[in-house]
Amino acid sequence: MKKRNLNAIYHSPLPVEVVALPPLVPHNPISVAYYVYQLVFVPFLWGFKRRRRLTAYMELYTDSVSSYVSSIAVGSYEDMQELWKAGFFGKGTQSRSDPTWVLRTSKRLQEASGETEIVAPEEVTARRRAARKKFKNARALVEQGVVSNPADPEKVETNEERRGQKLTRAEDMALRDSEGKVRQLEKLQLTFQEAFFLAYALDIIDIYDGRTGDLVTVPYLLGLLMPDWSPDNSFIVNYVVYHHYRSHGWCVRNGVKFGVDYLLYKRGPPFSHAEFGVIVIPLYSDESKNQLMRRDWYWSSGVNRVVGGVKKTMVLCYVKVPDCIDKWHSVEELLKMYEVREVVLRRWIPSRNRD
């Protein structure tokens, strides 16, 4: 298995192109000319072959009161790959995180020719689990006193291996399109905060209503995501935190599998494990409300233990919620009303933390 060049595949931290202006030396005409060229003509040239905008589709559900967003997903294969490779947005609906369903299904149906060298994370996990199971079976045999030659592994065949020997099933016919290749049936599902970030902050995505096909503008999207315009609406509070960390260069992903709100990666999941687990706590100016909503020591201890057990640091992110959010004319003004402050909570054990 050829080791992938991660730096080549995941070379940009966000799906935007950045032009670095050269240093300007005023008395040197060549430097001035080059600077003006980079400043004016390069974006102008790009304007012709403008970067393709990505598309996503929004599903809504309505009750008697109003419409609510139920999901925002990207369907096209190129858009999915671009969003994942530049910034690790979203989660594949048929995969663990990286949208690899087409790749894995092609491999399973023994179709892909040149792509067998790319190993999906799910396959890495499956191999690790199969190896662990083999080891446990062998250990159980040894413990029972069965005198078996440990260098004879053929007896212990796992279920996965038995299953893998079958090729295509009848249901797999429906997966192929007219040319015989696997259809793109997977979507990349974006969280609401990611979708709003891509639409508002980066402005590279067009979101369409799944029923009507109309383009959803940013203010309308905000209205759908925050149907009650209360200052402590969970979408806007979480979005403020998401925007804050993204703008500082962190890769921010959902942290539900560790019981936290967000995970912060330095570069992204393929490079290293997350360093921080962020929990968002709204802070009101009314102190009695803060007392009402406060968490107890048991909660803090539990989360700290889970997060510490996976070698991350727990960050409590306090978001100061304004009293009312009626007076704003742009999303930027709305975001400016919120303040973010972090506190790191780490457990120090004198017997263990000596180094």
Partner: protein, 261 residues
């Protein structure tokens, strides 16, 4: 609530000091552990090895739920050490013998007349002139009818040893037998009926429990008008134990992660 009528001197003394419950007497600790499967936590310094905190000695600290359940069952009595200490100081030296005798009589009297959940207190001849009631701010009565107490009582009736669960971020840890012999099976969280808890807590506690080979248990008391729904859930029979009511109005669930590793 039936209460076993014990001789007052037979009741296990639990000292109430500054909001916390302790058992100082070694015989009391033995009775608690062997007869009533209440383990408690040792919090005292061992005189032989004072400069460490791994091995601790008497007294044993009890949780408010443990003290409350023992009082409810009529096997223990709470002694308010603060008032008792002041009462002993106020006794005139010449009257010590007389006062001590009166103290003992008062103890027996007031222990016999206690009602459920009331703190047992006593007055001395010297204190009776002072207008003061020897009740601390948070007596045992405040513990009853809380979700924590309901789940504690539910598990205690089924023979579990229950210790505080702060280490694992839960309210209690439930051991199937003596903690010195077994690992705990459950991280326990008591909830009120209809009380909401977040999905993040469910995921995090389930993950924590599965990582340490335990299950996360949530349970709560079901009010009477909703108990008809329990018939489909609680298929197992309740356990009858002498001297206490079986709880038939409690429902509990366990959460574990699947597909780990």
């Amino acid at each position: 609530m039936q209460m076993v009528e014990n001789d007052a001197a037979d009741l296990i003394p639990i000292s109430f000091i500054d909001g916390e419950y302790f058992a100082f007497d070694i015989e009391a600790v033995k009775r608690l552990r062997n007869d009533h499967h209440v383990a408690g936590i040792l919090v005292g310094t061992l005189p032989q090895v004072p400069q460490q905190s791994t091995f601790l000695g008497l007294p044993v600290q009890l949780m408010p739920e443990e003290a409350a359940l023992l009082v409810q069952k009529g096997v223990a009595r709470i002694i308010d050490e603060g008032s008792r200490h002041e009462a002993m100081l106020a006794v005139d030296e010449n009257d010590i013998d007389e006062a001590t005798a009166k103290l003992k009589i008062n103890e027996v009297e007031s222990a016999g007349s206690e009602s459920q959940g009331q703190l047992v207190s006593f007055t001395t001849p010297a204190l009776s002139t002072v207008n003061r009631v020897a009740l601390p701010e948070s007596s045992v009565g405040a513990v009853y009818d809380t979700p924590r107490f309901d789940v504690y009582k539910y598990l205690h009736e089924r023979g579990y040893f229950i210790l505080p669960g702060l280490r694992f971020g839960s309210q209690f840890l439930a051991y199937p037998g003596d903690p010195l012999r077994y690992h705990s099976h459950y991280l326990v969280r008591g909830l009120g009926y209809g009380e909401e808890f977040s999905l993040l807590e469910l995921v995090g506690s389930g993950r924590l429990g599965t990582g340490v080979k335990k299950a996360w248990m949530v349970g709560g008391h079901v009010p009477e008008d909703e108990q008809h729904k329990l018939a489909t859930l609680n298929s197992s029979k309740t356990i009858e134990r002498e001297g206490s009511e079986p709880i038939e109005d409690f429902v509990s669930f366990c959460v574990e992660w699947a597909g780990f590793g």
